[in-house]
């Protein structure tokens, strides 16, 4: 994967070969600018590879149009961003219900309400994002990422904007819910503790992906 800028060609990812099995949890670590975010964008079909192919459950993403990609994300992919990215005009409940609403599901709000209860925000259903703390916003974001039972969960530094204590709580919640749903997880993180809870830890360095030694199990 490369970009062409005014200063010339920049190779972001070089000959990356990654195969993630259903239900597997993979952490991707690496210094800033190593291409972690680009890898996530490729996995979500939000960018197209310069060469090679990205396949989700055997479906080549680069062959799909914008609407088909949007449908695919709606049905099979969940996102957790470092900056939460909740829709500011919608309440916590409506934010969580969004993926189901987009899909036209009539039970969207019931499911969202149940999931918000699970992440401990049953008392914050009607609050707007601006009225929630950072930790609470990320819990809403995790609920939103999982409410439609996606096959793949992509998380980009989910605790990057949170303090240690809140970060640990959010991280625990993410892994617990993931384990419960059996979702495949690709996690970009600098946080060693989080990385160690994954099945594999990959390292990106100057665009090249390599697997680190088997991590220590958290339990």
């Amino acid at each position: 994967m490369h970009y062409t800028t005014g200063a010339g060609r920049v190779d972001v990812l070089k000959d990356v070969d990654l195969d993630v099995a259903p239900g597997e949890r993979v952490a991707i670590a690496g210094p800033s600018g190593s291409g972690k975010t680009t890898l996530l964008l490729l996995l979500a079909g939000l960018e197209r590879p310069s060469a090679g192919s990205v396949a989700l459950e055997g479906m080549a993403l680069e062959r799909l149009g914008p609407d088909a990609l949007a449908d695919l994300r709606r049905e099979r992919v969940g996102f957790v961003f470092q900056g939460f990215h909740l829709v500011p005009s919608l309440s916590a409940l409506d934010n969580v219900a969004l993926p189901l609403e987009i899909a036209g599901r009539r039970d969207a709000r019931e499911k969202a309400r149940a999931l918000l209860g699970k992440v401990g925000l049953a008392h914050r259903l009607g609050h707007l994002p601006a009225q929630l703390s950072g930790g609470e916003q990320q819990r809403v974001a995790i609920a939103r990422a999982l409410v439609h039972s996606p096959r793949l969960l992509l998380a980009d530094e989910p605790t990057g904007n949170l303090d240690d204590h809140t970060g640990a709580a959010v991280s625990g919640l993410l892994f617990d819910l993931n384990a419960e749903a059996g979702t495949t997880l690709v996690l970009v993180t600098h946080n060693l503790e989080m990385a160690e809870r994954c099945d594999r830890v990959m390292r990106l360095h100057e665009g090249e992906l390599s697997e680190l030694a088997p991590p220590l199990r958290a339990s």
């Binding site: 979500a44 609407d67 994300r73 961003f81 900056g83 987009i102 904007n161």
Partner: protein
């Protein structure tokens, strides 16, 4: 400090593109305030400074007959006296066209104040003198233009054929109602007998103007004391000035209010624009704070920027407004004796500039406080916008500016009642708006779970966006809503006036109205009018002039109440009911039966009756041609203002006025197409009879209304332009939010078509709510104006206001939506890259 100023200037130059809305809004608002204030000062200052000239003297003694020698010598002993004789008559051109004019003749001392200037230039005496066997006349320029008359043409006035010698370029005492009541034609006093128009039945007004060093009020009292039984009316220039000043104050206040409204709307643009500008500066602000710049100095830097911009934009607006005021005054000078003076513009322009700067500060400070209070750490982590609040101190300073603006509004507006009304209306508007926003929020919450909305994702999202914090609903409602309210109200008022002119009046109005028909002319006159094949009806009624001298045995002339004493000198127009030919409306008491022939009964017009405190049942004594006439007041009636033709002030039971009848008035109902021919026929055969063609008056009214309509349209267009600028700023500042929301939704799997539909729905809902608001507020405002100021029925024209509001709001918001949709570049990848 120099560093801060330099930095403020450089920073402003580098990123001021988003501030064009700020400058545009402020400039338009200030321009209207400056134009309104400047025009008022030009016209009011010009007219009031010349009010002695406009009035013609310090005092005027007005009488229906020449004053007695003793009275004249009393007057001449106490000042300079000039006599102007005037009466309405018909002027006929050599091509047979006729026109109602006010024929004026005067002595050699006219005018006592000011100068008459003619074109071609000559002295009045020279122009009007008998030359080559012809007397000369000077014509009002409007009359000359209407009839296509130029020096050298000849005109017929009664029996006299006179030569047009000049157009009047400036007549210091030209009546402000000349365009309606009769355009002036000047003629030498010696030429009057040759017209043969001065007859016992004609209504000549003898106006003796007095120039005196004495205090006019004292002069009048002394004159009245010296001749207690005299019949004349005496007016002072101060009374006339006061009436004129009151009318001008109201017009000036109206003009200024429109300016203030535009400035208020512009203020919203200032807020949005500064807000958007500072959002883009959050990084710079954070950097400056981390580099150690204290809050106060940081705030000072950006206040400097706002002051530089506000000062510049307000200056441009004030200059633009000044130019508009001069253009307006020049236009008014065509009809009014005005001499535009640049010096009179200085104060209103300076005030408009101050209004601009203070308004900008009042609206910009809250946005500034919100931006500079952002903690640097928060900014660097990209969470700035979420929890920022304006510190109380900034609200405080904004409130101080607001209070000063309110104070200035109240002190600078000529009629304080308008100012208070404006402030109250603004407060009411804001309260209404707040209520509406809350109602929308509540109903939208209630609707959220409604089965109707289930599965309608785009609509639910649009509804949610409409009432989110920072939604464009509030500024759009305030700006576009206020401008549309004005537009709806003026559309409805103009439409109602036009309808009244086009439909109601022609149905009920006679084609011709006659004055000064002598009893001996009645038969000939009937024949002349009867020559029109389409004549449906000819009403003729006596018109008698008389004074009310006594009420229930109390003499008005000796009343301690000055108003009552003066009222006793006024001549009233009296007539019979004759099948209610002037279409008056009874408001109190009862009419007598048609066959009543007993002792005299009278009905009085409500304005006269109320001025004197008359009640049904009072015994009244009138004095007509020196003879008393007693009558009992049995009814009080009102005029149908726009339909009244004769403005009768008293209506007597049949027979009571018979001994005093010396002239008749009349009204003929016939095809308007035949009216011109009938008018010309009567003017030729009986030149002393004054004929007014209703169609001509209506054309004059329509032209006036068209001018007023164009003026309103211009004002509404400027206000609308200001509101569209605000709207542009709202759209621009919400674009970032919409792109962000759309990106999140697209990342979560929403298709582009759904996102676009939701945006279109959001703007459509905004247009609907704004239109509904404008229609409700505009209809209420128009209803108020029509009911209380114009005494007009509101009718069923509300749909016209609704259509105007819907078309304008949906097209302007449609443009906004189109712009956003064209610029909607989704960037889901950016969400991951920014991390915040």
């Amino acid at each position: 400090m120099r560093f801060l100023l330099r930095f403020a200037w450089r920073d402003l130059r580098s990123g001021s593109r988003s501030l064009w809305v700020f400058s545009g809004c402020l400039m338009l608002g200030v321009a209207l305030v400056a134009a309104g204030g400047g025009l008022f000062r030009q016209v009011a200052g010009g007219l009031l400074a010349e009010s002695r000239a406009l009035f013609g003297g310090d005092l005027e003694v007005r009488s229906g007959e020449p004053l007695r020698p003793a009275e004249l010598s009393w007057m001449r002993a106490r000042g300079e006296v000039s006599l102007l004789m005037e009466f309405r008559t018909m002027l006929r051109t050599s091509s047979g066209q006729t026109h109602l004019v006010e024929l004026q003749s005067f002595d050699e001392r006219y005018p006592l104040y000011g100068e008459v200037s003619l074109r071609p230039a000559s002295s009045l005496r020279e122009a009007l003198a008998l030359r080559d066997g012809s007397w000369g006349v000077a014509l009002d320029p409007v009359l000359a233009q209407r009839l296509g008359l130029a020096p050298g043409d000849s005109v017929q006035l009664g029996a006299l054929t006179a030569a047009v010698r000049a157009r009047i370029e400036r007549q210091p005492d030209r009546s402000l109602r000349a365009d309606w009541a009769g355009l002036p034609v000047l003629i030498a006093g010696e030429a009057l007998p040759a017209t043969q128009l001065v007859q016992p039945a004609s209504r000549i007004s003898y106006r003796y103007r007095v120039k005196t060093a004495e205090e006019p009020g004292a002069w009048r009292s002394a004159f009245a004391a010296a001749f207690p039984d005299a019949d004349w009316e005496v007016r002072t220039f101060a009374e006339r000035s006061e009436r004129l000043a009151r009318a001008l104050r109201q017009i000036g206040s109206g003009l200024l209010l429109i300016g203030f409204s535009a400035l208020f709307i512009g203020g919203l643009g200032v807020f949005n624009s500064v807000h958007a500008y500072l959002q883009g500066k959050l990084g710079t602000l954070a950097t400056l704070r981390t580099l150690g710049l204290r809050d106060r100095r940081l705030a000072a830097t950006y206040v400097c920027q706002i002051l530089i911009l506000a000062g510049g934009a307000s200056l441009a607006g004030a200059l633009l407004g000044g130019a508009l005021a001069i253009a307006g005054a020049a236009l008014a000078a065509e009809r009014l004796p005005l001499a535009p003076a640049l010096a009179r513009l200085a104060a209103p322009l300076a005030l408009a500039w101050l209004f601009g700067v203070l308004t900008a500060l009042a609206f910009a400070l809250p946005a500034l406080g919100r931006a500079v209070s952002a903690p640097p750490a928060m900014l660097f982590r990209g969470l700035a916008a979420a929890g920022l609040r304006t510190p109380a101190a900034y609200w405080g300073w904004a409130a101080v500016c607001g209070v000063v603006v309110v104070g200035l509004v109240l002190t600078s507006i000529p009629d304080a009642r308008f100012g208070i009304g404006f402030i109250l209306a603004c407060a009411l508007l804001l309260a209404l708006l707040e209520g509406l926003v809350r109602a929308l929020r509540t109903s939208s919450r209630a609707l959220r779970d409604h089965p109707l909305l289930a599965g309608r994702f785009a609509l639910r999202l649009a509804l949610a966006n409409l009432n989110r914090p920072g939604s464009p609903l509030r500024p759009a409602l305030l700006s576009l809503g206020s401008a549309l309210t004005l537009l709806v109200a003026s559309t409805l008022v103009v439409a109602a006036l036009l309808r009244m002119l086009n439909e109601t009046v022609p149905e009920r109005a006679p084609a011709l109205v006659f004055y000064d028909v002598a009893p001996a002319q009645l038969d000939e006159f009937r024949k002349l009018v009867g020559g029109s094949p389409s004549l449906e009806r000819l009403d003729l009624a006596p018109l008698v002039l008389g004074r009310l001298v006594q009420v229930n045995a109390e003499s008005l002339r000796e009343s301690a109440d000055v108003e009552r004493a003066l009222e006793s000198r006024d001549e009233h127009k009296l007539s019979y009911r004759l099948g209610n030919f002037d279409n008056v409306v009874l408001t109190r008491g009862r009419w007598w039966p048609d066959e009543y022939r007993g002792s005299p009964l009278v009905a009085m017009e409500d304005r006269e009756a109320d001025q004197l405190g008359l009640k049904v049942g009072d015994r009244l004594r009138f004095e007509i041609l020196g003879e008393p006439l007693e009558a009992q007041l049995v009814a009080i009636y009102a005029q149908r203002r726009f339909e009244a033709r004769f403005w009768l002030e008293g209506i007597f039971s049949d027979g009571a006025l018979d001994p005093f009848i010396s002239r008749y008035v009349g009204a003929a109902y016939l095809d308007p197409g035949e009216a011109i021919a009938a008018q010309n026929r009567i003017a030729t055969a009986a030149p002393a009879i004054v004929t007014v063609r209703t169609e001509g008056i209506l054309a004059e009214a329509r032209a006036l209304l068209a001018r007023a309509g164009s003026g309103l349209a211009v004002i509404a267009a400027v206000t609308l332009a200001a509101s569209l600028l605000v709207l542009a700023s709202v759209v621009a500042s919400s674009r970032a939010r919409q792109v962000y929301d759309a990106s999140v939704l697209h990342t979560l799997g929403a298709r582009l078509a759904v996102i676009r539909r939701s945006l279109q729905l959001e703007y459509a809902l905004l247009a609907l709510v704004t239109s509904l608001f404008a229609v409700a507020a505009g209809t209420a405002l128009a209803g108020f104006v029509m009911h209380y100021r114009l005494q007009l029925e509101t009718g069923d024209t509300w749909w016209l206001g609704a259509a105007t509001a819907l078309v304008i709001s949906s097209s302007s918001l449609g443009l906004g939506a189109g712009y956003v949709l064209r610029r909607l570049r989704l960037a889901p990848a950016q969400l991951l890259r920014d991390g915040g």
